[in-house]
């Protein structure tokens, strides 16, 4: 049979093809593996691909799994532990590390019959917004290879945008799913905190991060969320879903009240982004929705609070990488020297910067002024959102203030890099869900519309997302990749 054309293939469609017997899981996985071989050397979106392992898993599904999503391929961010398969978190300190267990989300994927294509590139320990902080080299944006794919889940975004996987899982600590989804023209969901298990996710900032889907369509996003969400006995903070995720149908938005925090949009937003955002607001009203001005006065302090809390937690989470039990060890004449040599050699500059910030913020004499104060700000931000959701069904914001920026452009300016998450990280501080969907192109590059909801309103967000998706009519396949298999 002819090679399967997987570019732009949704997981929903792939599952339908498998169920209809139009192709086998092995053939489908084989088609992706061929594209990976052809395109990934340039993009560098995968850190680990094991074709034999993938094909064996696909054959198993061909023999046994014939329901639902069984046999559909997927790519996992290399922050997610995979039993027996190297997991590096994009860091030299974990080079060659083989986990003892699958992350809960991977185990759930396996249980659903998903077939792993490999592990995707990321900023080291998910610290970054461009995937340039990977110790294994940067990933390129399939829409423009001179630009970054966003981050930290840049590899997971690039593989889906380039047709090297039908969908993927990323993690979001401050925007790490939504911003790369926006940069690569994808749908990305940051789920409500505590609905998806973090067990087996290499921890960066425990109180902020969740695993979430990165997909071509809103319906795929819902399908993958159905797979991964749910309570876990291995994550004490994971209580699961309040209601099952429903597959959304596009429709009108009559009677829906969208909050728009106009004050937050006054400066720092690229004109092209603002134009696309305004256009989506117009679409919303055409679909019957009402726009309401909301205020999030403390959201603008989110960046400062975030860059205290996240590094504080990270400084503790990354202390375990000490060369004693696994991973890199650089020997020294005594214990302290071994620690210092190992951690100096094993961590990249951005990780070191955040460990320093976090350690400082928690130190005696500074703890109250930084860590405690940041927690207070976090509470105020949460209250901002709580108050806003009393009057609106969801809040609309651009996902990022810019489109994908050129590689290297922000590597010497950490604050400019951090500022790219200005619209996403207040959501993590509040622990609420947000969906990013493609919002058309700005000078040939994708932009994102972020739909933010109160806790446990994923179904609402997905329904709104499906409505926008249809009205916007975005083609998620980059022009250079259109027209069938290359």
């Amino acid at each position: 049979m002819a090679a399967i054309d997987v570019i732009g293939l949704t997981a929903e469609r792939a599952a339908a093809m498998l169920r209809a017997g139009e192709c086998s899981s092995e053939e489908l996985a084989g088609a992706y593996l061929e594209r990976i071989e052809a395109f990934d050397p340039a993009l560098h979106a995968y850190l680990h691909v094991d074709p034999e392992l993938t094909l064996a898993a696909a054959r198993t599904q061909d023999q046994s799994g014939n329901v639902g999503l069984a046999g559909v391929p997927i790519a996992y961010k290399d922050l997610l532990s995979t039993k027996g398969v190297p997991t590096t978190a994009g860091s030299k300190i974990l080079e060659g590390f083989i986990p003892l267990e699958d992350a809960d989300v991977v185990a759930r994927g396996n249980a659903a019959g998903l077939v792993s294509l490999g592990k995707t590139n990321l900023d080291e320990f998910a610290m970054g917004s461009s995937t340039e902080h990977s110790a294994y080299g940067p990933t390129r944006n399939p829409w423009d290879q001179t630009r970054v794919p966003g981050g930290s889940s840049g590899g997971s975004a690039a593989v889906v945008a380039a047709g090297l996987a039908p969908w993927s899982l990323g993690t979001d600590t401050g925007g790490s799913i939504r911003q790369p989804a926006a940069f690569c023209g994808l749908v990305g969901l940051m789920p409500t905190y505590g609905t998806v298990s973090r067990f087996g996710v290499v921890a960066f900032a425990c109180s902020l991060e969740q695993v979430g889907p990165m997909t071509l369509t809103v319906r795929d996003c819902a399908l993958l969320q159905q797979v991964i969400a749910g309570g876990s006995e291995r994550d004490a903070t994971c209580v699961g879903l309040r209601e099952p995720i429903v597959l959304p149908e596009p429709g009108r938005l009559d009677g829906v009240r969208f909050g728009v925090p106009w004050a937050e949009l006054e400066d720092g937003v690229d004109p092209g982004i603002r134009e696309r955002f305004d256009a989506s607001l117009k679409l919303a009203t055409e679909l019957g929705a009402e726009l309401v001005d909301v205020e999030l006065p403390y959201a603008r302090h989110g960046l400062a609070a975030y860059y205290v809390i996240a590094p504080a937690e990270a400084s503790a989470n990354l202390s375990r990488f000490d060369g004693v039990r696994y991973g890199l060890r650089v020997d020294g004449p005594d214990l302290r020297s071994m620690y210092e040599a190992t951690r100096s050699a094993g961590f990249g500059p951005e990780v070191k910067r955040r460990i320093m910030i976090g350690t400082y913020a928690l130190s005696a004499g500074y703890h109250d002024a930084y860590y405690v104060q940041a927690q207070r700000v976090r509470t105020l931000i949460r209250r901002d959102f709580d108050a806003a959701f009393l009057g609106v069904d969801a809040i609309l914001l651009p996902t990022a203030p810019t489109t994908a920026f050129p590689m290297g452009a922000r590597m010497d300016d950490p604050l400019a890099m951090y500022a790219n998450d200005i619209f996403t990280l207040p959501v993590n501080l509040a622990g609420i869900p947000a969906l990013s969907i493609p919002n058309g192109l700005v000078e040939g590059l994708p932009s994102g519309l972020q739909i933010i909801g109160a806790a446990h309103t994923e179904n609402t967000l997905l329904r709104f997302g499906a409505a926008f998706e249809q009205a916007i009519g975005f083609d998620p396949v980059p022009p250079t990749l259109r027209g069938g298999a290359a």
């Binding site: 003892l100 267990e101 973090r198 290499v202 006995e233 291995r234 400084s315 696994y326 928690l362």
Partner: protein
């Protein structure tokens, strides 16, 4: 005799920090077995080894046991407590932070009473739940110590063992009192079954904060912290040595440095582990991977009503029942023995006599055989039956001891059966005793003369002869009365 610091006008000020390993089936934050003595690094998982992605899940049983200890020690149990990360780099701490509790512990302030003569109260600051560290073995160092060792190996079996750290206020005023306090506290924790509190195995560990101050002063002096006192005797000796050291420094015109000291029980010396300048900044912050622990009023009431009789209350009860303080204390701190006694006394209805037997013959038998009370073949019912024969005069003490020996040797034997088999029933009738007395007096005319001549102590010899004649079965009291009557008559 007063201690050297007291002779010099100083008072000892002592507080204890006590670590108790809770006897749960699994560890505090994972499902690995919580047990001592297995092959190194066999009871471990990715949580124990702090693999990336591992997450702690709190053991509900450990929380329950910690709460029970808190209630038993008279602590207030706050409605909410939370876990925090205590950060330090060392190979015994795989995450490089210990999950402990900081400003919201499981158990808040309490008051612990040490009863009896010279008894005292000790305020408890708090008791918090935390995970134990791994065990470091410093290969090549003397006795596994780090000094002089070529390298270190780590056994992660112990990491994650639930540990309750109990902190007292500096309310203890002598090394003996420190020992007495810890003895009763240990007994309390053992009594409720929360831990075996074996200092040799390390399931009970005590550090002491020690300072001296002029008698009458209300301010505290600079304290030092003493570590590694792994027996009650070493605790007392270590504190004593440190108090003497501090006295010497102060008398020499020096001042005490705040430092952590290691007590070497063999040499009886103290060496400095670290000074104040080297004190850690643990950079505590709330553990984001765990939810706060909530206690309900109803849950605490139920938990409190389930507790067994505690040592201090038992001491009070036994003293009120007429036992001496030393006997009551010995029973108060030995729950097995106390339970045994209660069972015996329930049958005999005579607590005092039952206590004499329990603390006498029975304890000697346990010590000799290396058994605990519930392991002895002499069940409370069997001992009670024996005591009953003594109380009703069927047998005398001498015979009773013989019967007890048979009960130990032969688990099938009954006290009454042994008395019959061995013909041990007391000879108590006037006629029977009269015959014996006649015979003895006839055989010892010189002693009879001596008694009549005023040497009354000779009666002891004559009683002994009569007893011998009776095969040890004579009722000694009746015998003496009759004998006296005959001699004086």
């Amino acid at each position: 005799m007063s201690a050297p610091w007291q002779k010099n006008g100083y008072e000892a000020v002592i507080g204890l920090e006590i670590h108790v390993q809770l006897a749960t089936n699994s560890k505090l934050f994972c499902s690995c077995a919580n047990q001592f003595g297995d092959e190194p690094n066999t009871n471990v998982c990715m949580v124990c080894l702090a693999h990336p992605g591992a997450m702690p899940v709190a053991n509900a049983e450990a929380i329950r046991q910690a709460t029970r200890v808190g209630v038993a020690l008279g602590c207030r149990i706050p409605e909410t407590s939370e876990f925090s990360r205590k950060q330090y780099f060392y190979p015994d701490s795989p995450k490089a932070y210990q999950i402990s509790q900081y400003d919201q512990p499981m158990c808040a302030e309490g008051l612990f009473r040490v009863p009896g003569e010279g008894g005292f109260d000790v305020r408890l600051t708090r008791a918090h739940l935390e995970e134990d560290a791994a065990k470091m073995i410093h290969a090549g160092g003397e006795g596994g110590r780090i000094s002089g060792s070529a390298g270190s190996i780590v056994d992660f079996n112990r990491v994650g063992t639930p540990l309750l750290e109990i902190v007292s206020e500096p309310d203890i005023r002598s090394p003996e009192d420190a020992r007495r306090f810890l003895t009763l506290l240990r007994a309390t924790v053992v009594a409720i079954g929360a831990s075996d509190c074996d200092m040799e195995k390390g399931s009970l560990r005590a550090d002491a904060n020690v300072s001296i101050r002029p008698i009458g002063s209300t301010e505290y002096g600079t304290k030092t912290e003493l570590k590694n006192m792994n027996s009650f005797r070493f605790l007392e000796r270590g504190i004593e040595a440190e108090l003497e050291r501090q006295l010497e420094v102060v008398l020499g015109g020096g001042s005490i440095e705040q430092e952590t000291l290691h007590f070497d029980p063999v040499a009886g010396t103290l060496s400095s582990l670290r000074s104040k300048e080297q004190a850690h900044d643990y950079r505590y912050f709330p553990e984001p991977d765990l939810l706060p622990v909530h206690q309900t009023e109803a849950g605490l009431v139920e938990l409190g009503s389930d507790l067994p009789e505690l040592p201090a209350a038992r001491f009070d009860r036994l003293v009120a029942a007429g036992l001496t303080e030393p006997t009551a204390l010995a029973l108060a701190v030995d729950a097995d023995l106390a339970r045994y006694l209660d069972a015996v006394a329930t049958d005999t209805g005579d607590l005092k006599t039952s206590a004499n037997w329990t603390m006498g013959e029975f304890s000697a038998h346990l010590n000799g055989a290396g058994l605990s009370a519930n392991q002895s073949p002499v069940t409370p019912e069997r001992l009670a039956a024996l005591i009953a024969l003594v109380v009703d005069g069927t047998i005398n003490q001498t015979a009773a001891k013989e019967v007890f020996g048979v009960l130990v040797e032969d688990p099938q034997a009954t006290a009454a059966g042994v008395v019959v088999d061995r013909n041990l029933a007391q000879v108590g009738g006037d006629d029977a005793l009269g015959e014996i007395i006649d015979a003895v007096l006839a055989a010892h005319p010189e002693e009879v003369e001596a008694f009549k001549g005023g040497r009354e102590q000779v009666i002891g010899f004559l009683v002994g002869q009569c007893m011998k004649q009776s095969g040890g079965r004579a009722d000694a009291k009746a015998l003496q009365g009759l004998l006296r009557a005959r001699l004086n008559g």
